[in-house]
């Protein structure tokens, strides 16, 4: 609130109304609905239902398959986050350094941001096509018989590559502007203090990027968990089979393919709790002064 804020009574309410109305109808109601239906087993057409208490949840926790999906999700998240951040940081550091063509590099490295995840997945299908995908061919050349859609590992690999490809640009943009917001004089002070560029990077630049990095860490985790849906759906060609999938994708598969409303809702609720935990964690860490100023 601004110190000299207006004290008009009705106007702010009027201004807030559209937003509140929309989120009430399209956010809170559905979220609540998801919670309630997670306690039922329901005929998809709505003709019958049984209250089953926590059964939908216990069913999940005892499901080997669900745990496997959860494990994959964690692994996927870790790998996608790590590689998108690492590559983006590498590019950002280099782009920040070079004199010539910096703007061209920036453009070339960021345009992929605008590519929709399913389109990225579609591109992945081309690149990893079993018969003639240029990347599959490349792998075959090195003796790796890459079979997207058959081999669990290969499919996971493709999912990760495409997801990383799609995410590097955002991270790149953030890292680059993070680098550029490091006061020039601090870098120069380091230049006087230390001859080695590598050491300067690890001693000064990297720690100063930590706030950006932390913010991106959370963003990337969220991305890996949710926004890769389109990539995974496309690469799975709608038939998951024995291919890897993430938790969100399983919500979709069970709810939308399988019409298991209760089970899918229970999964949604679990995800909600996960995101909530992640957010609390984020706030906690922010409180712990990752920010220096």
């Amino acid at each position: 609130m601004k110190r000299a804020g207006f004290s008009t009574k009705w106007l702010p309410i009027l201004l807030l109304l559209p937003q509140l109305l929309i989120i009430a109808i399209f956010f809170y109601w559905p979220a609540l609905h998801a919670v309630t239906s997670s306690f039922y087993l329901q005929d998809p057409f709505g003709f019958g239902q049984t209250f089953v208490g926590l059964e939908n949840y216990t069913h999940l926790t005892s499901s080997v398959e669900y745990l496997k999906v959860a494990k994959f999700t964690v692994l996927f998240t870790v790998l996608v986050t790590f590689f998108s951040l690492a590559l983006a940081l590498l590019f950002a550091v280099k782009a920040d350094k070079v004199l010539r063509g910096a703007k061209t590099y920036r453009t070339l490295l960021m345009w992929v941001y605008a590519v929709a995840p399913p389109v990225a997945g579609f591109i992945g299908l081309l690149m990893f096509n079993q018969t003639w995908g240029p990347l599959s061919d490349l792998f075959k050349f090195f003796g790796w018989d890459f079979t997207l859609g058959v081999n669990y590992f290969d499919t996971a690999f493709a999912m990760i590559v495409v997801s990383v490809w799609k995410q590097v640009p955002v991270n790149f943009i953030f890292f680059l502007s993070g680098l550029q917001s490091i006061p020039r004089s601090v870098r120069e002070a380091a230049l006087l203090d230390n001859r080695s560029g590598t050491r300067r990077f690890w001693d000064i630049t990297f720690p100063l990027l930590a706030p950006t990095g932390f913010f991106l860490l959370i963003t990337n985790i969220t991305y890996s968990l949710f926004d890769t849906f389109g990539v995974i759906d496309t690469l799975n060609k709608g038939e998951p089979g024995n291919n890897p999938m993430t938790l969100v994708y399983k919500v979709f598969v069970d709810g939308f393919r399988g019409n298991d409303l209760g089970g899918s809702s229970a999964q949604s609720v679990i995800l909600m709790i996960l995101v909530l935990a992640l957010t609390v964690f984020q706030f906690r860490l922010i409180e712990r002064r990752i920010h220096y100023t």
């Binding site: 000299a4 008009t8 109601w29 070339l108 081309l126 680059l176 389109g230």
Partner: protein, 299 residues
């Protein structure tokens, strides 16, 4: 954010003035490699777009440029595959446009209004409103998609632009960004305006909105891209062919690759290219705004 070249420049000034330096060559090598990594798939798509489908089906991407470009373009843009004859590339382009623009505008207008109320008014329940609004940042649409879908159905908004757009607006990203931005607007401006006799509406229209121009532009770009790229939601909400968006159409593309006929790689890739092009152009041409919006509003 300062302009990159100028900045890089300033820092690079600190290097020795040698024309050929191994380190610099290495830096460029990495950047070129990265750029290629980003570009390669695009080039491959471009190649397939010019090549007859049968050839692609058998050989995959090659290094030759074929002659099918205009034919594939015609097919992708003007030929429909459905009964209604309405899901042409043109029509999907239109729908994507409406979704992108409508979403961006809706989000900005509603977000600005709400952020204005939260930042500039003494509201008793401001904190409550804040939390009500900002918890929506926590839960992506994906995890509450089923019930959301039902609501849209119950409200009879299936296959309408409202049904497509409004529920997507139900997360507070723009509100949050604008709140951050408004908070950074110097306190004195509202004070000067109040002393100058501007009421809340006048202040909003005369001062705050014009002041937010760059922020609005940045938000617009980000939201446009976000809206344009929506996939799962349009897939569920649009069942009329004349409501399909390009990205939703990708589903169709993949299915034609799965179907019984010769997979129309050319047409499919063309459509994918068309789906990529507008948001990519927006991002490239307005990159400074876009970057500003992304990096300044966040965190």
């Amino acid at each position: 954010m300062t302009d990159i070249s100028a900045h890089a420049h300033a820092i690079a000034q600190t290097r020795k003035r040698t024309w050929f330096k191994l380190e610099t060559v290495f830096d460029h090598a990495i950047l070129i490699l990265g750029s290629l990594l980003m570009l390669l798939p695009l080039l491959i798509m471009l190649q397939t777009v010019t090549t007859p489908d049968l050839e692609t089906m058998k050989l995959g991407p090659t290094f030759t440029i074929g002659t099918e470009l205009d034919d594939n373009f015609r097919k992708a843009m003007f030929e429909a595959s459905g009964f209604s004859g309405q899901n042409t590339g043109m029509n999907m382009l239109k729908n994507s446009m409406i979704l992108g623009l409508g979403f961006a505008l809706g989000k900005i207008v509603i977000g600005m209004m709400a952020a204005y109320a939260i930042v500039y008014f003494r509201l008793r329940f401001a904190t409550l409103a804040f939390w009500l609004i900002f918890t929506t940042l926590l839960l992506p649409l994906e995890v509450r998609i089923l019930p959301s879908y039902e609501i849209v159905q119950q409200l009879g908004m299936m296959n309408t632009y409202q049904g497509l757009i409004i529920p997507l607006i139900a997360s507070a990203t723009a509100t949050f960004f604008f709140r951050q931005f408004f908070r950074s607007v110097p306190e004195e401006l509202i004070e000067a305006a109040r002393i100058d006799g501007a009421g809340p509406i006048k202040f909003f229209i005369d001062i705050l909105v014009p002041l937010s121009q760059t922020m609005i532009a940045a938000m617009f770009i980000i939201m446009f891209v976000y809206g344009w790229n929506q996939y799962l939601w349009p897939t569920m909400i649009t069942t009329d062919e004349n409501m399909y968006t390009l990205v939703r159409g990708i589903k169709q593309i993949v299915q034609t690759l799965e179907g019984n006929n010769i997979p129309e790689f050319g047409r499919a890739n063309m459509l994918a290219l068309i789906a990529i092009l507008p948001p990519v152009l927006v991002v490239i041409f307005f990159q400074s705004w876009f970057v500003k919006g992304l990096t300044e509003s966040d965190k």
